[in-house]
C-alpha cells in the first residue's frame, strides 16, 4: 500500500517537474510547480514528517509561489518562444536520462539500509515530530543551521545586488 502511494507521489513529482520546464506559459509553469510542491509535501507525510509537510505547504506553496506568481504577472511575460537551437538533440538527451534511470535501478537493487540512528520512527513518534526536529536542529545540527543562515544572507545580498535598479 505504502509503495503504491510512494509510486504515485514520486511519479507525479517527476511528471510535474517536467511540465514546469516544458510549459510555454510562465503562469502555467508556476501553477504546475504549486502542484508539485503539494506532492512533495505528500512524500513528507509518507515519512511521518508531518511538520515538514506542513512547512512545505505553508512556506513553499503558500508564500514563495504566491511571490513567484506576483513577479510573473508583474513582469507581464508572454509565451516563451521556441528556438530550435535550444531544443535540439532531445533524443540523445532523453536516452541519456533513461540510461541513467536504468543503471540506477540496476545498481540500487542490492541497496540495504545501513545502521539506524537513535531517531527511529517510534522514537520520533514518542517525542513528537516537531519537538524531535527542533531538538536535533538546534543542538546536534546547530552548525549547519547557522551556515544555512549565512547562505540565506548571501542569497539576499546577491539578489539585491543583481536586481538593483540603479547602476552607479
Amino acid at each position: 500500500m505504502v509503495e503504491w502511494f510512494f509510486g504515485y507521489l514520486a511519479g507525479a513529482v517527476i511528471l510535474l517537474a517536467i511540465l514546469v520546464v516544458a510549459s510555454r506559459n510562465p503562469v502555467h509553469s508556476v501553477l504546475w510547480m504549486l502542484l508539485m510542491f503539494l506532492h512533495v509535501a505528500g512524500l513528507y507525510l509518507l515519512l511521518n514528517a508531518e511538520f515538514l509537510a506542513a512547512t512545505q505547504v505553508i512556506v513553499y506553496a503558500g508564500a514563495i509561489l504566491v511571490l513567484f506568481l506576483f513577479v510573473v504577472m508583474l513582469l507581464n511575460l508572454r509565451e516563451e518562444i521556441k528556438i530550435r537551437r535550444f531544443t535540439g538533440g532531445w533524443l540523445f538527451k532523453g536516452l541519456t536520462a533513461l540510461g541513467i534511470i536504468y543503471v540506477l535501478r540496476r545498481g540500487l537493487e542490492g541497496f540495504r539500509v545501513g545502521f539506524e540512528g537513535p531517531w527511529s520512527i517510534e522514537a520520533v513518534g514518542r517525542a513528537t515530530h516537531t519537538r524531535a526536529l527542533g531538538q536535533v536542529l538546534f543542538t546536534e545540527y546547530i552548525l549547519p543551521f547557522e551556515i544555512a543562515s549565512l547562505l540565506l544572507l548571501v542569497a539576499i545580498v546577491g539578489a539585491v545586488f543583481l536586481s538593483k535598479k540603479r547602476l552607479r
Partner: protein, 473 residues
C-alpha cells in the same frame, strides 16, 4: 550532546572572524565613500583569521567541524587567494565600472564557504560550505551587470552548479542510507565494515561527479571555459584557484577518509578522468586565441594533474597535491594579474594578438608574464617545476610510472600554448597602437608577491614541502 556553549566555537575562530568580517564589509560599504576601504578591510580580516588558524586546532560540534593541519594548509591557500584577488580587483572594478562594495563581501563569504569545506567532517557541513562558496561565486561571476557576457556566465554557472549540487546531494543521500551517518570518519568505519557494494559505489560515483564539477575534471568541466571567459577577470582568477582548491580539499578528505578502504576500486575511474582531463584541457587550450579562455582550459588541465595526488593517496599523495595547488594558486593568479593589467579603458586586452611585441613596449610586464608561463609549463627554476616534480615523484612512487609518462607528455603539449604567449611577446613585432597598461599600486603589489613567490619556491622549495608534508599528516 545536548550542551551548547560558546567554547565549542573555539576551533571555528577563524571562520567566525571571516563571517563577522563579511557582514562588517557589507555595512562599511554603505558608509564608505571609497569602495577600496571594503577591500582593505577584508584583507585585514584575513590577516587576523590567518593568525588564529594555527591556534585553533581541534574538533567541534561532534566532529562536524575539524580544524587540523590539512584544513589549515588549504585555508592558507584560500587566504592568499582572497588577498591577491582583492589586490587585483581594486583598480579593475573601476575600469569595468562595477566598483561596488558587495564584491568584497561576497569574496569573503565565498572564502568562508571554502574554509568550511576544508574543515568539514560531516557531509552536511561540506554541502552547506560548498553552497555558500558557490552561491557567492555565482553572483561574483555576474558582477558586471551591464556586460551580457558576465551575466551569461553567471546564469550558466548557476544552473550547472545547481545540477552538480543535485548530484552531490543524491550521493550524500545514498551514503546516508547505506551507512546511517553523514560523518566522514564514521562513514569510513562503516564502509570498512560493510565492504564494497554496487549502491555504495554508485554513491561514490555521484560524489566524484560533483567534486569533478567543482574541480573542473572532464567531462564535468564543460562550464569552466565559458564561465571563466565571461566572468570578470578578477573573479575568474579567484574562481580558478579558491573553489578548485576547496573542492580538492573536500575531495581528498571524503575519498581518503571516507572511502579510503575502497581506493583500489575508485582509483581506476579517477585515472581515466585524470587522463581525459589532461587531454581535453591541454588539447583545447592549443585552439584558443583568447588568453582568458586559454587559461581556463589550462586550469582544467591543471585539475587533471592535481587529482593525481588523490589517486596516489596517503600522506605522500596529498602532500604533493596540496603543494601543487599552493603553487598553482600563485602562478595562476599572477598570470591573471598580467591579463588584468592589459585591460584598460576601452581595450579588452584578452586576445593573444594583444601580446604581440609586449617585450618591446612593456618589457617589465612581458618578463613577469614569462615567469608565469614558464611556471605553468613547469620549467625550472620556477615553482611550477617543483609542483610537477613532486607530483610525478609521488605518482612514480605509487607504481604508476606509465601515468607519470602520460602526464609528462601532456605537460610537453602544454608547453606549446604557454610558450606561444612568450613567443608572441618576445619574437613578434608590436602591431598597431601599443597597449596601455593599467598598473595600480595594488596590482603592482600582487604582481610583485606572485612573481617573487613563484621564483622563491622554485629555488628554495623545502619550507613549502615540509609544510605540506606536515599538514598532510
Amino acid at each position: 550532546m545536548n550542551e551548547i556553549n560558546v567554547s565549542m566555537l573555539a576551533p571555528l575562530l577563524p571562520e567566525v572572524i571571516m563571517a563577522s568580517a563579511g557582514i562588517l564589509v557589507l555595512l562599511v560599504e554603505l558608509v564608505a565613500r571609497r569602495k577600496e576601504t571594503a577591500g582593505l578591510l577584508s584583507i585585514a580580516a584575513v590577516a587576523v583569521a590567518a593568525y588564529y588558524v594555527p591556534h585553533s586546532f581541534g574538533k567541534s560540534f561532534g566532529g562536524m567541524f575539524v580544524s587540523d593541519g590539512y584544513s589549515a594548509f588549504f585555508k592558507f591557500i584560500f587566504f592568499i587567494n582572497l588577498i591577491l584577488t582583492v589586490l587585483l580587483s581594486m583598480r579593475y572594478l573601476v575600469i569595468e565600472k562595477s566598483n561596488h562594495g558587495e564584491y568584497y563581501s561576497l569574496v569573503v563569504f565565498s572564502t568562508l564557504g571554502m574554509m568550511l569545506m576544508a574543515s568539514a567532517g560531516d557531509l552536511i557541513v561540506l554541502y552547506l560550505g560548498l553552497e555558500l562558496m558557490a552561491l557567492s561565486s555565482y553572483v561574483l561571476a555576474g558582477f558586471i551587470r551591464h556586460d551580457a557576457r558576465s551575466s551569461e556566465a553567471a546564469v550558466k554557472y548557476f544552473l550547472l552548479g545547481a545540477f552538480s549540487s543535485a548530484l552531490l546531494l543524491y550521493g550524500i543521500t545514498l551514503v546516508y542510507g547505506l551507512t546511517g551517518t553523514t560523518d566522514v570518519s564514521l562513514i569510513g568505519a562503516a564502509v570498512v565494515e560493510k565492504g564494497l557494494s554496487t549502491p555504495l559505489f554508485l554513491s561514490v560515483v555521484f560524489l566524484m561527479a560533483a567534486f569533478g564539477f567543482k574541480t573542473a575534471l572532464a567531462p564535468f568541466h564543460m562550464w569552466a571555459p565559458d564561465v571563466y571567459e565571461g566572468a570578470p577577470t578578477s573573479v575568474t582568477a579567484f574562481m580558478s584557484v579558491g573553489p578548485k582548491a576547496a573542492a580538492f580539499a573536500a575531495f581528498g578528505r571524503v575519498f581518503l577518509t571516507g572511502f579510503g578502504s575502497l581506493s583500489t576500486d575508485w582509483t581506476g575511474i579517477l585515472v581515466v578522468l585524470s587522463i581525459l582531463t589532461m587531454a581535453v584541457g591541454n588539447i583545447l587550450a592549443i585552439q584558443q586565441d583568447n588568453i582568458k579562455r586559454m587559461l581556463a582550459y589550462s586550469s582544467v588541465a591543471h585539475a587533471g594533474y592535481a587529482v593525481l595526488g588523490i589517486i596516489v593517496g596517503g600522506a605522500e599523495g596529498l602532500a604533493a597535491m596540496m603543494n601543487y595547488l599552493f603553487i598553482y594558486g600563485f602562478m595562476n593568479l599572477g598570470a591573471f594579474a598580467v591579463v588584468i593589467m592589459l585591460r584598460s579603458e576601452g581595450v579588452r586586452g584578452e586576445a593573444l594578438e594583444d601580446y604581440k611585441g609586449l617585450a618591446k613596449t612593456h618589457p617589465f610586464a612581458a618578463a613577469v608574464m614569462l615567469v608565469f608561463m614558464f611556471s605553468l609549463t613547469g620549467i625550472p627554476p620556477t615553482a611550477g617545476f617543483i609542483g610537477k616534480f613532486y607530483l610525478f615523484k609521488a605518482v612514480v612512487g605509487a607504481g604508476y610510472a606509465w601515468l607519470a609518462v602520460v602526464t609528462v607528455i601532456f605537460s610537453a603539449i602544454s608547453a606549446y600554448f604557454y610558450l606561444r604567449v612568450v613567443m608572441y611577446m618576445y619574437m613578434l613585432e608590436p602591431e598597431g597602437e601599443a597597449v596601455t597598461l593599467s598598473l595600480s599600486p595594488s596590482l603592482g603589489l600582487a604582481l610583485l608577491i606572485t612573481t617573487l613567490v613563484v621564483i622563491l619556491i622554485g629555488v628554495y622549495p623545502s619550507p613549502l614541502l615540509s609544510f605540506a608534508r606536515l599538514a598532510a599528516g
